[in-house]
């Protein structure tokens, strides 16, 4: 129930399940969606933990559970030394001063009938705090800090662009000087030229106020830009967690490799010389997840053991946690975006695009020169047609 | 008590059904017509009519119609209810005015509802896809836009019919039709508790059954709500 020094958030074995109800004549619970199933991590003081995953990975549910916007089914959440999962809504009020949230959609997250001043000042009123100099002065200072014109205090959200609305959301979140801000896809609804403005703003605020971020996003390049450490989720489970440079340059989990190889790089020479690890099929149903490792149905490393035994998240190197029975240390050159890609001659090891015919197969690693295959961890792509629905 | 309800129910049934057919036909077709001419004068005209219809209370329309059509010009005899099986012609003569009175408000409402629903679906991505496939405009409108746009109207229509089946108090009173609404009024005036309870029970049952029917019907129209 305690946090170590410098730790702002500790999440232990977090589980958040949603009941699945049948909508027949007599509604009844027919199953559970295990949106988050046993996730543990910490966020340090003034640190950003990036939480990445695709839709259905449970990353957004983690974000909401951490702030008790959805009630977790089990596990512990400790914010700044206080366990909060057992608190009533009322008892959570003081906690909300310490932890705030920034939402994805700046169009729907702001009440269109409230003025900007009202929105940013709401935390003061709700918490009954009188900032020095009054709410209006404090709010206008916040507006100035996030790059809004303080004279727009009485305007309504629809008079602002997407980027400016996200600044409003950020000003509201930092109003109470929280220690932790949970950012749920804060830039994914914004245009690229605006994204950079918001990312820089978040970074500056972190330096200025010593904020900790739990930064939930699907864009791996954005997460790399802002995070100190990165955690990768898949189907409710943590797959891998490591310091930023480790996860992007030397990932160990096959899923992380697949994700990184799938992101197209904005450099035609490099990009056209890369090949991807293709994930077969679709995400399995979270109502009926695969036995053993949840990723095994789409994994190029999967073996017998993976369907039987759930791989625990273990620390393979200092600070580098991996949940996999058969971690992959190095991929053949040309696959993924590990740093060595930059050093190899572009195009040399390219296996090129998938053959025509539309059948997207698993990793086409067969076609790579044998020399490029790592010795220690053989890659054996397997023909698989398993596909959970 | 049962006998009373049994004799009153058919009157209400015919009244509600006739009005229902009238308002659905008029409301939906005028609504579609307005949507197809969105922003032009037919649209504004239809919306204007809708506003007027919406604003007129039914007892006012009823009294005006009785005054002119029956009393002043004598186009129709004074209503006196008779079963359609006994004398279809007299039945129609009696019911036409009540039907109109009862349908006016709902027609106005359905014109508006239909127009907005259809306009909304015109902006749907799947309507654009239908055009991108090279389908004729008529197919795009009827099969893709209208089918989706009219579906929510099923729900509203079913419920509105159900409420009417429980008795249209004002219309029945104005035209002295011996229906459930009129029966309810007289039972209240005479403090006939068992009868009040009986009518309430019948009305409630109709609404619940209608709810169920509407839900099932919706599942037929929209595959997304079908049971897995």
């Amino acid at each position: 129930m305690t946090t170590e020094a410098g730790e702002i958030l500790r999440v232990s074995d977090l589980r958040t399940y949603f009941p699945v109800r049948s909508h027949g004549l007599i509604p009844h619970v027919v199953g559970q969606v295990k949106a988050v199933d046993g996730v543990s991590f910490t966020v340090g003081s003034a640190e950003t933990l990036g939480l990445v995953g695709e839709s259905g990975s449970g990353k957004t549910t983690v974000a909401r559970s951490v702030l008790m916007l959805v009630r977790p089914t089990g596990g512990e959440i400790v914010i700044d030394g206080q366990e909060i999962t057992h608190l009533s809504s009322k008892a959570l009020m003081p906690m909300r001063r310490k932890a705030q949230m920034i939402f994805q959609d700046p169009y729907n997250a702001l009440n269109p009938r409230h003025t900007v001043g009202g929105i940013i000042g709401a935390p003061y009123r709700i918490q009954g705090i009188q900032p020095p100099g009054g709410v209006r002065t404090a709010v206008q200072a916040l507006m100035e800090r996030v790059g809004l014109n303080p004279e727009h205090y009485n305007r309504y959200p629809n008079e602002f662009s997407g980027g400016q609305r996200q600044r409003i959301g950020i000003a509201r979140a930092i109003a109470l000087r929280p220690k932790l801000i949970v950012c749920d896809e804060p830039v994914s609804a914004l245009d690229v030229s605006i994204q950079a403005q918001i990312i820089n703003l978040l970074r500056d605020l972190q330096h200025e106020f010593g904020l900790s971020y739990l930064f939930v996003a699907h864009d791996l390049a954005v997460v790399r830009q802002i995070s100190h450490r990165v955690a990768v989720m898949y189907l409710g489970h943590l797959m891998e967690m490591a310091p930023r440079n480790t996860i992007y340059a030397a990932p160990l989990h096959p899923y992380t490799h697949s994700l990184l190889s799938a992101v197209p790089i904005p450099d035609p020479v490099l990009q056209k010389g890369r090949s991807r690890i293709m994930l077969e099929g679709d995400l399995p149903s979270p109502i009926n997840p695969p036995s053993g490792c949840v990723f095994r149905t789409r994994c190029f490393q999967a073996q017998e053991r993976c369907s039987v035994e759930v791989p625990p998240l273990v620390e393979l190197e200092p600070g580098h946690y991996v949940a996999c029975h058969f971690p992959v240390a190095t991929l053949p050159a040309g696959v993924g975006i590990a740093r060595d890609v930059l050093e190899t001659e572009p195009g040399v090891s390219a296996s090129g695009l998938q053959p025509a015919g539309g059948q997207v197969s698993s990793a086409q690693l067969d076609s790579l020169p044998a020399d490029d295959r790592p010795d220690s961890t053989p890659l054996r792509p397997q023909e698989r047609v398993r596909r959970s629905r | 008590m049962l006998t009373l309800i049994e004799t009153a129910a058919p009157t209400t049934f015919w009244l509600a059904t006739g009005a229902f057919i009238l308002w659905i036909t008029a409301g939906i077709s005028l609504g579609i017509f307005a949507a197809l001419n969105h922003g032009h004068w037919p649209d504004r005209l239809v919306m204007g009519i809708s506003l007027v219809g919406y604003s007129l209370p039914s007892f006012f329309i009823g009294l005006v119609l009785i005054f002119f059509v029956i009393l002043q010009f004598g186009w129709l005899p004074f209503p006196s209810y008779i079963s359609p099986f006994d004398n279809p012609f007299q039945f129609l003569q009696t019911m036409i005015l009540p039907w109109i009175v009862l349908a006016v408000l709902n027609t106005a409402f359905y014109m508006r509802l239909t127009r907005n629903q259809v306009l909304e679906t015109f902006n749907e991505d799947y309507v654009r896809t239908a055009r991108a496939k090279g389908l004729p405009e008529r197919t795009v409108v009827v099969k893709h836009a209208l089918r989706a746009g009219l579906t929510p109207i099923v729900t509203a229509a079913g419920m509105d019919l159900a409420y009417l089946l429980g008795g249209a108090i004002i219309t029945e009173s104005i035209f002295s039709l011996p229906g459930l609404g009129a029966l309810a009024v007289s039972s209240v005036l005479e403090s006939d508790l068992p009868l009040i309870a009986g009518i309430t029970l019948v009305t409630a049952t109709i609404v619940i059954v209608a709810n169920l029917v509407v839900d099932l019907l919706y599942a037929v129209v929209d595959p997304r709500v079908r049971l897995a």
Partner: protein, 351 residues
């Protein structure tokens, strides 16, 4: 790529001075102005831009999806010798889904929720050629298999909501390809999809393009996708094309300050991390009140280098700076190239 030969006399698709405007209550929305483009058969052109840049409206104009009653459209669109802007509605309708096909951003909302995917595809077949229900279904099934839908014989009777996002986009692609189009317009086809699914869909489009020899217009905001798929790139901003170049040239020697700004503002995984990103200051212009001079001028950090305030008052032309490389900018070519070299050097880790 099936053809990569020299320029033919008439490009497969040529757009000349296209303008599309929508009258609204707030004023005339000039969505697209003075757009000129050409693509050779079998190649992939990417149109890249942010929201409001006019890229989707351009695509819909080529597709004949602009409502002629409500919008004002001028200019010429020549597709394989046929002019589309002045084409009668019925001929345009025959072209849509036939010679030209389109896929959209959100495969969930782009498929009709009430009809089975099979019947939505056979409907597309029947719009262009008459055949029996059985034959049409067989063709649809074959196409579903070719786009990589597992158990296609069962999936063909599914409703869209029963499929995953990736599968729905495959259905959309099958539907688009069912009448063997020569031009496929893909409007942000992977934006609504996860990155691993995006990889599947991009590879699918590329392989089908090779198989059928289709010309592809890829509309996107993602410079990574452009680098992945495009032969040529047109960058749009404020309803205009501001730069056109072969893909390699655009990334290696971009000349328009907006293109440079885009390349500098995106976080990238293939470079050393820089502490801060270099965003483009300000916000995109409103298409109702565009700046009188260069539409990018209010956000451009180099416009003060141009004499006599030309950027403020004079709309620049889209001019060729080298073979196949067109730029809409008042800056002298030499100065643009110097700026470009400097900025790219810093980006490449020289900071």
């Amino acid at each position: 790529m099936t053809t990569s030969g020299g320029p033919t006399e008439n490009p497969f698709l040529e757009i000349k001075d296209l303008a599309v405007a929508f009258p609204t209550e707030d004023g005339l929305v000039r969505a697209v102005e003075g757009v000129s483009l050409s693509i050779e058969r079998g190649r992939t052109l990417a149109i890249v831009g942010e929201s409001g840049s006019g890229k989707s409206v351009t695509a819909q104009a080529i597709m004949g999806l602009i409502d002629r009653k409500s919008a004002k459209m001028t200019g010429e669109i020549w597709l394989d010798g046929q002019e589309l802007v002045g084409m009668p509605a019925d001929e345009l309708q025959a072209l849509r889904g036939g010679k030209v096909a389109m896929i959209f951003q959100d495969p969930m909302s782009s498929l009709h929720p009430f009809y089975r995917v099979g019947s939505q595809i056979t409907e597309a077949i029947n719009a262009h050629r008459k055949m029996g229900a059985k034959a049409a279904r067989a063709i649809a099934l074959d196409m579903l298999r070719r786009v990589g839908i597992p158990a296609a014989d069962r999936r063909i009777d599914d409703y869209p909501h029963q499929l995953s996002g990736g599968m729905r986009q495959r259905v959309m692609i099958a539907m688009a390809l069912i009448n063997a189009p020569e031009l496929l317009i893909a409007d942000e086809p992977t934006t609504a999809l996860d990155v691993t699914v995006q990889a599947q869909i991009l590879e699918l489009i590329a392989s089908l393009q090779g198989e059928f020899g289709i010309t592809v217009i890829m509309i996107t905001h993602d410079l990574g996708i452009v680098a992945d798929v495009a032969d040529e790139v047109a960058v749009m901003y404020g309803g205009r094309i501001v730069e056109v170049a072969p893909t390699g040239v655009l990334y290696a020697q971009p000349e328009m300050p907006y293109t440079l700004g885009l390349l500098s503002s995106i976080p990238r995984m293939d470079r050393e991390l820089s502490e801060r990103l270099e965003p483009i200051p300000g916000n995109p212009p409103s298409p109702i009140s565009l700046p009188p001079g260069c539409v990018f001028q209010p956000r451009c950090t180099y416009s003060d280098r141009v004499a006599a305030g030309a950027c403020l008052n004079v709309r620049p032309e889209l001019l060729e700076t080298s073979a196949g490389h067109l730029v809409r900018c008042h800056l002298p070519a030499e100065e643009r190239r110097q700026i470009s070299r400097d900025v790219l050097n810093v980006l490449a880790g020289g900071s």
